[in-house]
């Protein structure tokens, strides 16, 4: 085998494999870091009233209201996408996608709460979560495949705090 053949072999199998391994480690690291970050920020906003219904307690006197939103676009790493693709052949639960959606949802909700707090709202009611898939950049379905998560609700400023 001469050098050209070796190079071609590397480009065909070695490089994708190297990217796969690289994506696995870095992707896992990013995911763990994100979950740690989420737990920390969730602790900080604990006790802040965020509900998914619109009825208010009777003893609340509302001063003003306004829309608050939080959104995030996240994507899966290459390794997990390959695993999910393989899993898609035989069907069943795709475990690699579950943490992605969990992360996206928690992040969007946290951003909603953080922006509501920043804008001086005391509570957020009627929170809705929406998921949308971004269009693939390539026709064959590969390329960028992110998930956008949007959380929105009505922020409320109370006239008098209980």
């Amino acid at each position: 085998m001469d050098n050209v053949e070796k190079f071609n072999l590397f480009m065909q199998f070695g490089l994708p494999l190297a990217i796969l391994v690289f994506a696995y480690f870095i992707g896992n690291m990013i995911e763990r870091k994100h979950f740690r970050n989420l737990r920390k920020r969730e602790e900080a906003v604990q006790g802040y009233p965020v509900v998914s219904f619109e009825k208010l307690p009777q003893d609340w006197t509302v001063g003003s209201a306004g829309l608050v939103t939080g959104s995030v676009v996240v994507s899966l790493d290459y390794f997990k996408r390959v695993i999910a693709g393989l899993r898609g052949l035989i069907g069943g639960r795709i475990k690699t996608y579950e943490p992605l959606l969990d992360r996206a949802r928690r992040e969007a909700l946290l951003r909603l709460v953080e922006s509501a707090k920043r804008d001086g709202f005391d509570a957020v009611v009627n929170v809705r979560l929406e998921t949308s898939r971004l269009a693939n950049s390539r026709r064959d379905g590969k390329g960028t495949a992110g998930v956008e998560m949007l959380a929105f609700g009505t922020g409320i400023v109370l006239k008098k705090r209980w």
């Binding site: 003003s64 209201a65 306004g66 290459y78 009611v125 009627n126 950049s137 390329g143 992110g146 949007l150």
Partner: protein
């Protein structure tokens, strides 16, 4: 202009309805951002270029909806909903709609 996604504005009373108002915008991805996102896509995680792009577009759709409500003489939009649809390769429509009302 008061916006809310509840059926009425908390703490206020609706005195007049003007009907549904909408606002939309269609955005395409930017090549530079797309390349960055493509690289980021290998390791996964947040694609902040896209997060920003979508948040900006949604803001614009909302502003258009607000302008329409203002032209009707409304001072609030209730029951605001957002929708996203990818209409072609690399382009997405961001859509905001709600009911224009007069509140007191």
């Amino acid at each position: 202009m008061i916006l809310s996604n509840t059926e009425s504005v908390p703490g206020r009373e609706i005195v007049e309805f003007y009907g549904v108002v909408t606002g939309n915008t269609v955005r395409a991805k930017h090549v530079g951002r797309d390349i960055m996102a493509g690289l980021k896509n290998i390791v996964g995680g947040e694609l902040s270029g896209y997060t920003e792009l979508l948040a900006d577009s949604r803001e614009e759709a909302t502003q258009r909806m607000i302008r329409q409500a203002e032209s009707m003489g409304a001072n609030a939009v209730v029951n605001v909903r957002y929708a996203t649809s990818s209409i072609s390769q690399g382009a997405a429509e961001l859509f905001a709609y709600g009911t224009a009302v007069q509140v007191r």
